[in-house]
Symmetry: C2
Subunit: 219 residues, 2 copies
Protein backbone atom coordinates (compact mmCIF):
# COMPACT_ATOMS: atom_id res chain seq x y z
CA UNK A 1 0.00 0.00 0.00
CA UNK A 2 1.32 3.41 -0.85
CA UNK A 3 1.58 6.02 1.85
CA UNK A 4 -0.38 9.14 2.62
CA UNK A 5 2.29 11.57 3.68
CA UNK A 6 2.25 15.03 5.18
CA UNK A 7 5.29 17.28 5.15
CA UNK A 8 4.96 20.83 6.35
CA UNK A 9 7.04 23.63 7.82
CA UNK A 10 6.10 24.91 11.29
CA UNK A 11 7.48 27.55 13.61
CA UNK A 12 8.81 26.34 16.95
CA UNK A 13 5.52 27.45 18.49
CA UNK A 14 3.63 25.29 16.02
CA UNK A 15 2.27 27.73 13.45
CA UNK A 16 2.08 27.06 9.70
CA UNK A 17 0.97 30.62 8.98
CA UNK A 18 1.39 33.89 10.83
CA UNK A 19 -1.32 36.22 12.14
CA UNK A 20 -3.57 38.39 9.95
CA UNK A 21 -3.80 36.12 6.94
CA UNK A 22 -5.41 37.81 3.96
CA UNK A 23 -5.76 37.52 0.21
CA UNK A 24 -2.69 39.75 -0.10
CA UNK A 25 -0.72 37.75 2.43
CA UNK A 26 -2.06 34.20 2.57
CA UNK A 27 0.59 32.90 4.94
CA UNK A 28 0.19 35.78 7.37
CA UNK A 29 2.66 38.19 8.91
CA UNK A 30 6.08 36.60 9.22
CA UNK A 31 4.81 33.44 7.57
CA UNK A 32 7.13 33.66 4.60
CA UNK A 33 10.08 33.35 6.95
CA UNK A 34 8.99 29.79 7.66
CA UNK A 35 9.94 28.81 4.14
CA UNK A 36 13.31 30.52 3.85
CA UNK A 37 15.09 27.17 4.22
CA UNK A 38 13.44 25.99 1.00
CA UNK A 39 14.25 28.82 -1.41
CA UNK A 40 18.04 28.42 -1.80
CA UNK A 41 17.94 24.66 -2.35
CA UNK A 42 18.91 23.10 -5.66
CA UNK A 43 15.65 21.10 -5.72
CA UNK A 44 13.46 24.18 -5.24
CA UNK A 45 15.34 26.23 -7.81
CA UNK A 46 15.12 23.39 -10.33
CA UNK A 47 11.32 23.38 -9.85
CA UNK A 48 11.02 27.09 -10.54
CA UNK A 49 13.75 27.91 -13.04
CA UNK A 50 15.93 26.42 -15.74
CA UNK A 51 18.93 28.39 -14.56
CA UNK A 52 20.37 25.59 -12.42
CA UNK A 53 22.41 26.20 -9.30
CA UNK A 54 21.26 26.17 -5.70
CA UNK A 55 22.51 24.66 -2.48
CA UNK A 56 22.94 20.95 -1.85
CA UNK A 57 23.10 19.42 1.63
CA UNK A 58 20.61 18.27 4.25
CA UNK A 59 17.82 20.70 3.35
CA UNK A 60 18.08 19.87 -0.34
CA UNK A 61 18.16 16.14 0.41
CA UNK A 62 15.02 16.39 2.53
CA UNK A 63 13.16 18.41 -0.08
CA UNK A 64 14.15 15.99 -2.85
CA UNK A 65 13.04 13.06 -0.68
CA UNK A 66 9.69 14.82 -0.13
CA UNK A 67 8.92 14.93 -3.84
CA UNK A 68 10.39 11.54 -4.70
CA UNK A 69 7.81 8.87 -5.41
CA UNK A 70 4.92 11.30 -5.11
CA UNK A 71 2.02 10.81 -7.51
CA UNK A 72 -0.72 13.13 -6.27
CA UNK A 73 -1.36 15.97 -3.82
CA UNK A 74 -4.39 16.87 -1.70
CA UNK A 75 -4.98 20.38 -0.38
CA UNK A 76 -7.63 22.51 1.26
CA UNK A 77 -9.55 25.22 -0.53
CA UNK A 78 -7.61 28.09 1.03
CA UNK A 79 -4.26 26.60 0.13
CA UNK A 80 -5.39 26.28 -3.48
CA UNK A 81 -6.21 29.96 -3.76
CA UNK A 82 -8.45 32.77 -2.62
CA UNK A 83 -12.02 33.26 -3.73
CA UNK A 84 -11.21 36.78 -4.86
CA UNK A 85 -7.89 38.48 -5.15
CA UNK A 86 -5.82 41.14 -6.80
CA UNK A 87 -4.37 38.93 -9.57
CA UNK A 88 -7.20 38.93 -12.08
CA UNK A 89 -10.76 38.02 -12.87
CA UNK A 90 -10.50 34.27 -12.35
CA UNK A 91 -10.11 33.27 -8.72
CA UNK A 92 -10.00 29.56 -9.51
CA UNK A 93 -6.55 29.39 -10.98
CA UNK A 94 -4.57 28.77 -7.81
CA UNK A 95 -1.61 30.66 -6.33
CA UNK A 96 1.06 29.28 -8.63
CA UNK A 97 0.54 30.81 -12.06
CA UNK A 98 0.25 28.85 -15.30
CA UNK A 99 2.78 26.17 -14.41
CA UNK A 100 2.32 25.05 -10.80
CA UNK A 101 5.19 23.16 -9.15
CA UNK A 102 3.21 19.94 -8.60
CA UNK A 103 3.41 18.30 -12.06
CA UNK A 104 0.83 15.71 -11.03
CA UNK A 105 -2.89 15.60 -10.17
CA UNK A 106 -3.90 17.82 -7.24
CA UNK A 107 -7.17 17.25 -5.38
CA UNK A 108 -8.69 20.35 -3.79
CA UNK A 109 -11.19 19.92 -0.93
CA UNK A 110 -14.07 22.32 -1.51
CA UNK A 111 -17.82 22.68 -1.19
CA UNK A 112 -18.20 24.11 -4.70
CA UNK A 113 -18.33 21.65 -7.61
CA UNK A 114 -16.22 22.65 -10.58
CA UNK A 115 -14.67 21.12 -13.69
CA UNK A 116 -11.03 20.02 -13.44
CA UNK A 117 -8.51 22.75 -14.23
CA UNK A 118 -5.67 21.62 -16.49
CA UNK A 119 -2.50 23.65 -16.04
CA UNK A 120 0.86 23.54 -17.78
CA UNK A 121 3.56 21.09 -16.73
CA UNK A 122 1.34 18.16 -15.79
CA UNK A 123 -0.62 19.69 -12.94
CA UNK A 124 -4.39 19.25 -13.06
CA UNK A 125 -6.54 20.54 -10.20
CA UNK A 126 -9.57 18.36 -9.37
CA UNK A 127 -12.22 19.81 -7.08
CA UNK A 128 -13.61 17.28 -4.64
CA UNK A 129 -16.88 18.04 -2.87
CA UNK A 130 -17.67 14.72 -1.20
CA UNK A 131 -15.14 14.69 1.59
CA UNK A 132 -11.62 13.74 2.58
CA UNK A 133 -11.98 9.99 2.12
CA UNK A 134 -13.23 10.44 -1.43
CA UNK A 135 -10.37 12.84 -2.18
CA UNK A 136 -7.90 10.29 -0.85
CA UNK A 137 -9.41 7.46 -2.89
CA UNK A 138 -9.26 9.57 -6.05
CA UNK A 139 -5.72 10.70 -5.28
CA UNK A 140 -4.53 7.14 -4.67
CA UNK A 141 -5.97 6.04 -8.00
CA UNK A 142 -4.40 8.99 -9.79
CA UNK A 143 -1.05 8.43 -8.09
CA UNK A 144 -0.76 5.03 -9.75
CA UNK A 145 1.30 3.24 -7.14
CA UNK A 146 3.12 6.30 -5.87
CA UNK A 147 2.53 8.13 -2.58
CA UNK A 148 0.00 10.86 -1.93
CA UNK A 149 0.83 14.08 -0.04
CA UNK A 150 -1.53 16.20 2.05
CA UNK A 151 0.08 19.58 1.49
CA UNK A 152 -2.06 21.75 3.79
CA UNK A 153 -3.44 23.89 5.15
CA UNK A 154 -3.71 23.12 8.82
CA UNK A 155 -7.41 22.33 8.67
CA UNK A 156 -7.05 19.73 5.90
CA UNK A 157 -4.15 18.07 7.71
CA UNK A 158 -6.08 18.00 10.98
CA UNK A 159 -9.02 16.32 9.27
CA UNK A 160 -6.80 13.58 7.84
CA UNK A 161 -4.97 13.12 11.15
CA UNK A 162 -8.21 12.85 13.12
CA UNK A 163 -9.47 10.26 10.65
CA UNK A 164 -6.30 8.24 11.19
CA UNK A 165 -5.49 8.34 7.47
CA UNK A 166 -1.97 9.82 7.49
CA UNK A 167 0.91 7.31 7.50
CA UNK A 168 3.88 9.63 7.75
CA UNK A 169 4.23 13.14 9.16
CA UNK A 170 7.34 15.22 8.61
CA UNK A 171 7.64 18.54 10.39
CA UNK A 172 10.26 21.01 9.27
CA UNK A 173 10.69 22.96 12.50
CA UNK A 174 12.06 26.47 12.06
CA UNK A 175 13.58 28.32 15.04
CA UNK A 176 11.08 31.13 14.83
CA UNK A 177 8.28 32.20 17.15
CA UNK A 178 5.27 33.61 15.31
CA UNK A 179 3.23 34.11 18.48
CA UNK A 180 -0.09 33.83 16.66
CA UNK A 181 -1.60 32.58 13.41
CA UNK A 182 -2.73 29.18 12.18
CA UNK A 183 -1.54 26.30 14.34
CA UNK A 184 -0.95 22.91 12.75
CA UNK A 185 -1.68 20.62 15.67
CA UNK A 186 -4.93 21.79 17.18
CA UNK A 187 -7.80 19.53 18.01
CA UNK A 188 -5.85 16.35 17.32
CA UNK A 189 -4.85 14.15 20.22
CA UNK A 190 -3.56 10.70 21.08
CA UNK A 191 -7.05 9.24 20.79
CA UNK A 192 -6.74 9.81 17.04
CA UNK A 193 -3.16 8.86 16.28
CA UNK A 194 -0.05 7.26 17.65
CA UNK A 195 3.31 8.71 16.61
CA UNK A 196 6.66 7.00 16.37
CA UNK A 197 9.87 8.87 15.62
CA UNK A 198 11.57 7.77 12.39
CA UNK A 199 14.47 10.21 12.27
CA UNK A 200 15.67 13.74 12.86
CA UNK A 201 17.99 15.74 10.59
CA UNK A 202 19.49 19.18 11.23
CA UNK A 203 19.80 21.45 8.23
CA UNK A 204 20.81 25.10 8.22
CA UNK A 205 18.00 26.94 9.98
CA UNK A 206 15.61 24.02 10.27
CA UNK A 207 15.15 20.66 12.00
CA UNK A 208 13.44 17.91 10.00
CA UNK A 209 11.56 15.45 12.23
CA UNK A 210 9.79 12.52 10.61
CA UNK A 211 7.19 10.38 12.39
CA UNK A 212 5.38 7.19 11.48
CA UNK A 213 1.69 7.69 12.22
CA UNK A 214 -0.68 4.89 13.07
CA UNK A 215 -4.34 4.99 13.89
CA UNK A 216 -4.97 4.91 17.64
CA UNK A 217 -6.66 1.71 18.76
CA UNK A 218 -8.77 2.50 21.82
CA UNK A 219 -7.12 3.75 24.98
CA UNK B 1 28.52 35.45 32.51
CA UNK B 2 26.73 32.28 33.47
CA UNK B 3 23.68 31.21 31.51
CA UNK B 4 20.00 31.21 32.28
CA UNK B 5 18.82 27.96 30.80
CA UNK B 6 15.44 26.40 30.24
CA UNK B 7 15.00 22.72 29.53
CA UNK B 8 11.54 21.26 29.37
CA UNK B 9 9.64 18.36 27.86
CA UNK B 10 6.83 19.16 25.44
CA UNK B 11 4.40 17.10 23.41
CA UNK B 12 4.62 17.44 19.63
CA UNK B 13 1.66 19.80 19.83
CA UNK B 14 3.52 21.97 22.31
CA UNK B 15 1.98 21.14 25.68
CA UNK B 16 3.93 20.82 28.94
CA UNK B 17 0.85 19.57 30.80
CA UNK B 18 -2.31 17.82 29.71
CA UNK B 19 -5.91 18.97 30.12
CA UNK B 20 -7.80 19.08 33.44
CA UNK B 21 -4.86 19.86 35.72
CA UNK B 22 -5.77 19.54 39.38
CA UNK B 23 -4.20 19.16 42.79
CA UNK B 24 -4.47 15.39 42.32
CA UNK B 25 -3.01 15.50 38.85
CA UNK B 26 -0.82 18.58 38.49
CA UNK B 27 0.48 17.71 35.04
CA UNK B 28 -2.98 16.95 33.65
CA UNK B 29 -4.43 13.97 31.84
CA UNK B 30 -1.75 12.20 29.84
CA UNK B 31 0.88 14.62 31.13
CA UNK B 32 2.93 11.98 32.90
CA UNK B 33 3.57 10.30 29.55
CA UNK B 34 5.65 13.33 28.58
CA UNK B 35 8.26 12.31 31.12
CA UNK B 36 8.52 8.61 30.40
CA UNK B 37 11.84 9.13 28.63
CA UNK B 38 13.34 10.39 31.90
CA UNK B 39 12.38 7.64 34.33
CA UNK B 40 14.56 4.73 33.08
CA UNK B 41 17.75 6.79 32.79
CA UNK B 42 20.75 6.16 35.01
CA UNK B 43 20.91 9.85 35.92
CA UNK B 44 17.29 10.02 37.04
CA UNK B 45 17.50 6.79 39.03
CA UNK B 46 20.68 7.99 40.76
CA UNK B 47 18.80 11.14 41.83
CA UNK B 48 15.96 9.16 43.37
CA UNK B 49 17.53 5.97 44.71
CA UNK B 50 20.78 4.45 45.90
CA UNK B 51 20.07 1.22 44.08
CA UNK B 52 22.11 2.10 40.98
CA UNK B 53 21.31 0.85 37.51
CA UNK B 54 19.36 2.57 34.76
CA UNK B 55 19.86 3.12 31.07
CA UNK B 56 22.76 4.97 29.54
CA UNK B 57 22.70 6.49 26.04
CA UNK B 58 21.44 9.69 24.46
CA UNK B 59 18.60 10.37 26.91
CA UNK B 60 20.84 9.80 29.90
CA UNK B 61 23.58 11.99 28.39
CA UNK B 62 21.12 14.83 27.81
CA UNK B 63 19.72 14.62 31.31
CA UNK B 64 23.19 14.57 32.85
CA UNK B 65 24.18 17.56 30.72
CA UNK B 66 21.06 19.38 31.96
CA UNK B 67 22.10 19.11 35.60
CA UNK B 68 25.81 19.64 35.04
CA UNK B 69 27.06 23.04 36.11
CA UNK B 70 23.71 24.05 37.52
CA UNK B 71 23.76 26.12 40.72
CA UNK B 72 20.17 27.28 41.20
CA UNK B 73 16.65 26.75 39.89
CA UNK B 74 13.73 29.14 39.42
CA UNK B 75 10.13 27.94 39.24
CA UNK B 76 6.58 29.24 39.31
CA UNK B 77 4.26 28.87 42.27
CA UNK B 78 2.21 26.07 40.73
CA UNK B 79 5.25 24.03 39.88
CA UNK B 80 6.45 24.29 43.47
CA UNK B 81 3.25 22.85 44.85
CA UNK B 82 -0.46 23.30 45.31
CA UNK B 83 -2.05 25.62 47.79
CA UNK B 84 -4.06 22.76 49.23
CA UNK B 85 -3.82 19.09 48.52
CA UNK B 86 -4.36 15.58 49.73
CA UNK B 87 -0.84 15.10 51.17
CA UNK B 88 -1.19 16.79 54.53
CA UNK B 89 -1.74 19.98 56.43
CA UNK B 90 1.20 21.98 55.09
CA UNK B 91 0.77 22.99 51.49
CA UNK B 92 4.12 24.81 51.34
CA UNK B 93 6.40 21.80 51.26
CA UNK B 94 6.52 21.27 47.51
CA UNK B 95 5.75 18.19 45.45
CA UNK B 96 8.96 16.32 46.12
CA UNK B 97 8.85 15.13 49.73
CA UNK B 98 11.60 15.73 52.28
CA UNK B 99 14.52 15.38 49.90
CA UNK B 100 13.77 17.17 46.61
CA UNK B 101 15.92 16.31 43.60
CA UNK B 102 17.41 19.80 43.21
CA UNK B 103 20.17 19.79 45.83
CA UNK B 104 20.70 23.53 45.40
CA UNK B 105 18.77 26.75 46.08
CA UNK B 106 15.38 26.98 44.39
CA UNK B 107 13.63 30.33 43.89
CA UNK B 108 9.84 30.17 43.77
CA UNK B 109 7.92 33.04 42.13
CA UNK B 110 4.93 33.88 44.31
CA UNK B 111 2.85 36.76 45.60
CA UNK B 112 2.92 35.50 49.18
CA UNK B 113 5.99 36.32 51.31
CA UNK B 114 7.31 33.40 53.33
CA UNK B 115 10.47 32.31 55.12
CA UNK B 116 12.88 30.07 53.21
CA UNK B 117 12.14 26.36 53.49
CA UNK B 118 15.20 24.22 54.13
CA UNK B 119 14.82 20.66 52.91
CA UNK B 120 17.13 17.64 53.08
CA UNK B 121 19.86 17.08 50.54
CA UNK B 122 20.85 20.69 49.95
CA UNK B 123 17.60 22.04 48.53
CA UNK B 124 16.31 25.28 50.04
CA UNK B 125 13.19 26.93 48.65
CA UNK B 126 13.25 30.72 48.64
CA UNK B 127 9.98 32.55 47.99
CA UNK B 128 10.42 35.63 45.81
CA UNK B 129 7.64 38.21 45.72
CA UNK B 130 9.29 41.06 43.83
CA UNK B 131 9.34 39.69 40.32
CA UNK B 132 11.28 37.62 37.83
CA UNK B 133 14.32 39.90 37.56
CA UNK B 134 14.79 39.85 41.32
CA UNK B 135 14.45 36.07 41.37
CA UNK B 136 17.08 35.81 38.64
CA UNK B 137 19.48 38.14 40.44
CA UNK B 138 19.12 36.15 43.67
CA UNK B 139 19.50 32.86 41.81
CA UNK B 140 22.65 34.03 40.02
CA UNK B 141 24.20 35.07 43.32
CA UNK B 142 23.24 31.76 44.92
CA UNK B 143 24.53 29.77 41.95
CA UNK B 144 28.03 31.05 42.57
CA UNK B 145 29.36 30.97 39.04
CA UNK B 146 27.22 28.11 37.83
CA UNK B 147 24.17 28.29 35.53
CA UNK B 148 20.60 28.94 36.57
CA UNK B 149 17.64 26.89 35.26
CA UNK B 150 14.06 28.06 34.80
CA UNK B 151 12.29 24.78 35.39
CA UNK B 152 8.68 25.80 34.70
CA UNK B 153 5.81 26.01 34.49
CA UNK B 154 4.85 27.45 31.17
CA UNK B 155 3.88 30.83 32.59
CA UNK B 156 7.23 31.37 34.35
CA UNK B 157 9.13 30.37 31.21
CA UNK B 158 7.01 32.68 29.05
CA UNK B 159 7.73 35.59 31.39
CA UNK B 160 11.48 35.02 31.18
CA UNK B 161 11.36 34.55 27.40
CA UNK B 162 9.34 37.72 26.89
CA UNK B 163 11.83 39.63 29.02
CA UNK B 164 14.65 38.34 26.82
CA UNK B 165 16.43 36.81 29.82
CA UNK B 166 16.80 33.17 28.72
CA UNK B 167 20.10 32.28 27.03
CA UNK B 168 19.47 28.67 26.11
CA UNK B 169 16.26 26.74 25.50
CA UNK B 170 16.20 22.98 25.21
CA UNK B 171 12.96 21.29 24.23
CA UNK B 172 12.61 17.55 24.73
CA UNK B 173 9.96 16.85 22.10
CA UNK B 174 7.93 13.70 22.72
CA UNK B 175 5.96 12.10 19.87
CA UNK B 176 2.66 12.48 21.68
CA UNK B 177 -0.37 14.64 20.98
CA UNK B 178 -2.12 15.87 24.12
CA UNK B 179 -4.70 17.92 22.21
CA UNK B 180 -5.24 20.33 25.10
CA UNK B 181 -3.63 21.52 28.32
CA UNK B 182 -0.92 24.05 29.12
CA UNK B 183 1.07 25.18 26.09
CA UNK B 184 4.66 26.24 26.52
CA UNK B 185 5.02 28.74 23.71
CA UNK B 186 2.04 31.02 23.91
CA UNK B 187 2.22 34.78 23.82
CA UNK B 188 5.92 34.84 22.97
CA UNK B 189 6.97 35.89 19.49
CA UNK B 190 9.97 36.97 17.47
CA UNK B 191 9.70 40.52 18.81
CA UNK B 192 10.88 39.12 22.15
CA UNK B 193 13.55 36.61 21.18
CA UNK B 194 15.66 35.31 18.35
CA UNK B 195 16.41 31.60 18.27
CA UNK B 196 19.38 29.81 16.75
CA UNK B 197 19.62 26.04 16.57
CA UNK B 198 22.55 24.58 18.52
CA UNK B 199 21.96 20.87 18.03
CA UNK B 200 19.42 18.07 17.78
CA UNK B 201 19.76 14.61 19.31
CA UNK B 202 17.43 11.63 18.89
CA UNK B 203 16.94 9.46 21.93
CA UNK B 204 14.47 6.61 22.33
CA UNK B 205 11.04 8.22 22.30
CA UNK B 206 12.20 11.83 22.35
CA UNK B 207 14.00 14.45 20.26
CA UNK B 208 16.22 16.90 22.12
CA UNK B 209 16.46 20.28 20.36
CA UNK B 210 18.66 22.96 21.84
CA UNK B 211 18.51 26.63 20.83
CA UNK B 212 20.60 29.66 21.65
CA UNK B 213 18.25 32.49 22.59
CA UNK B 214 19.09 36.14 22.15
CA UNK B 215 17.04 39.19 22.91
CA UNK B 216 15.35 40.57 19.82
CA UNK B 217 16.71 43.98 18.83
CA UNK B 218 13.94 46.01 17.24
CA UNK B 219 12.30 44.94 14.01
Amino acid sequence: MTKLRCGITVSLDGYVAGPNQSADNPIGEGGLRLHEWVFPTKTFLAMHSDAGGGETGVNDDVLRETFAGLGATIMGRNMFGPVRGPWGPDPWKGWWGDNPPYHHPVFVLTHQPREPLVMQGGTTFHFVTDGIESALAQARTAAGGRDVMVAGGASAIQQYLRAGLIDELELHVVPLLLGAGERLLDGVDASHVKLELIRTLDGPGVTHIKYRVTKATGR
